[in-house]
């Protein structure tokens, strides 16, 4: 499967760019030209120059450095959200799709309940209930999103469950573990990976939104949404401060959406190499 991915040009390009962004986040202390937290009133609203490539913000902090440091919370939290969502979604979806019966009934009614709330309001409610905190943002997002995944994965599992290769394994008495891990999981993996990478974009936007509204990452820590919030007071005076994180969010979200698309193309088993 991986080999097929490496042969796909579009997939390679998107993956490369995303890897570079992730690496920049990991090595932020080395890559960033300045300290993102250093307040320097001399450089308030500085226009882009050699020392501050994208200029300074309302407290004279380097915008580029803040952007680079911002990769960590934004992508990190988004990834954490998706891992949590996928983990619960896969477990629930596989279990209810494969075993059906009363397990299915109970899990799906729970999913129905969760899906009947408007998602954004649920997030606010959960964050308000648990307190404003980064961890709670992730928990809130996972809480509202896993149900949707469980439903999608269940539908897919049901589709593959009645395929003859699963029937055969049942006929010859192979273990449920083998069927779930070797037959069903890989069969739904491509589609799930595609959905996950599409939703990675959603998670980034959601985390940025919450930070923008002051419910996520709190003040001095650089985060893209929070940066937008800072910039909104001064955006006529210093448009760069708003454009930089705005465009970054857009590009990264677009990249993840593209990744979703190319993953689907690249992971189709019938694609002839």
């Amino acid at each position: 499967m991986l080999r097929r991915l490496f042969h796909h040009k579009g997939a390679m390009i998107t993956i490369c760019i995303l890897t570079i962004i992730v690496l920049m986040g990991v090595f932020a202390p080395i890559v960033a030209p300045n300290d993102p937290l250093e307040v320097d009133m001399m450089n308030r609203f500085a226009s882009p120059n050699a020392e501050f490539p994208l200029g300074g913000d309302q407290l004279g902090r380097c915008i580029l450095s803040r952007l680079i440091w911002g990769i960590r919370p934004t992508l990190g939290l988004a990834a954490l959200t998706m891992i949590g969502t996928m983990g619960i979604g896969l477990a629930v979806g596989l279990a209810s799709g494969y075993f059906r019966g009363w397990i299915d009934e109970i899990l799906m009614r729970l999913v129905d309940v969760l899906l009947s709330f408007p998602s954004q309001i649920m997030v606010f409610a959960v964050v308000a209930l648990l307190g404003i905190n980064v961890a709670n943002v992730v928990i809130a997002n996972v809480c509202i999103k896993w149900a949707w995944y469980a439903r999608m994965i269940r539908t897919n599992v049901i589709k593959y469950r009645s395929e003859n290769f699963v029937n055969f394994s049942n006929v010859v008495g192979n273990s449920n573990r083998f069927i779930l891990l070797k037959h069903l999981l890989p069969s739904i993996a491509a589609e799930s990976a595609m959905l996950a990478s599409l939703d990675m974009g959603w998670a980034i936007i959601n985390i940025s939104t919450l930070s923008f509204l002051g419910m996520g990452v709190s003040a001095p820590t650089p985060e893209w949404g929070a940066m937008l919030n800072d910039a909104k007071q001064v955006f006529i005076l210093n448009p760069m401060q708003m454009l930089a994180p705005g465009i970054t969010i857009m590009v990264v979200v677009a990249l993840f959406n593209m990744l979703g698309d190319v993953l689907r193309d690249a992971l189709d088993p019938k694609e002839v190499m």
């Binding site: 049942n170 006929v171 010859v172 008495g173 070797k182 019938k270």
Partner: protein, 253 residues
């Protein structure tokens, strides 16, 4: 070997709650070494019967004995059935995992045998042996299903069915979607395999010429009822009108 008494199968439509009777009252026996053909047109319930025999579908009522045990009674009996039965499907494209190579497809069965503590062998050698049995060579081991032709893939499916070392194999329209001349090749092969491994076959089909070519007994199934069971050699003495009709519509040359 297999004894079925007054088997009945109903499906209930979820939408309207209407009951649809697929098998009305089916009784028959399969003896060891038989090659029984189940003949009927689409909608006669022959595939449903097949699914019940291999343990995929619990019948509404009636008795099913496999070597004296009732597979739908408890888990142990079900496992006993699974250890001795195997199956080949009609649609070879969906009956193998498209992400598995040929070696992995056959390997699945060998792994099951190993888990049951039955076998101690070199897996690769064994796969190559089974490939040879169905007339393929080692080159095919690393290929994926979509890289094989229909006939080749169906041979892999047969190799897989053999690899579990069953006593009985059920073929659900296993040759119907192959080309006429591939059909004959596969049937010739099956005949040899039956003798070599001392197997019992149940052969679900709608093609009477295939039945007379391969099988020893034939059961005519129509609208969920057994119309007639007769030895292939005596097929000229069929009594029921339906069996007679099926004989009449055979296209010879």
């Amino acid at each position: 070997m297999i004894k079925i008494e007054n088997l009945k199968m109903e499906f209930k439509s979820e939408l309207t709650g209407e009951k649809q009777v697929v098998l009305r009252d089916v009784s028959f026996e399969v003896k060891e070494g038989d090659c029984l053909a189940v003949l009927g047109e689409s909608g006669s319930g022959k595939s449903t019967l097949g699914r019940i025999i291999v343990g995929l579908l619990k019948p509404t009522s009636g008795k099913y004995y496999f070597l004296g045990k009732e597979p739908y009674q408890d888990k142990q009996n079900k496992r006993f059935l699974a250890e001795h039965i195997s199956m080949v499907f009609q649609d070879y494209n969906t009956s193998v995992n498209p992400r598995f190579t040929v070696a992995e497809i056959i390997g699945e069965c060998l792994d099951i045998l190993r888990k049951r503590g039955k076998a101690n062998y070199n897996k690769k050698e064994k796969i190559s042996e089974y490939l040879k049995v169905v007339g393929l060579n080692d080159e095919f081991m690393d290929r994926f299903p979509h890289q094989l032709s229909g006939g080749q893939l169906q041979r892999v499916c047969i190799a897989r069915a053999l690899a579990i070392e069953p006593k009985i194999i059920l073929f659900d329209e296993a040759i119907s979607s192959l080309d006429a001349h591939t059909q004959v090749q596969v049937m010739d092969m099956l005949r040899e395999l039956r003798e070599k491994y001392n197997l019992t076959f149940i052969f679900i089909t709608h093609d009477l010429t295939a039945v007379t070519y391969l099988c020893t007994k034939v059961m005519f199934l129509y609208d969920g009822n057994v119309e007639e069971i007769i030895d292939v050699e005596d097929i000229s003495n069929v009594q029921s009108a339906y069996a007679q009709k099926l004989i009449d519509v055979v296209i010879e040359m």
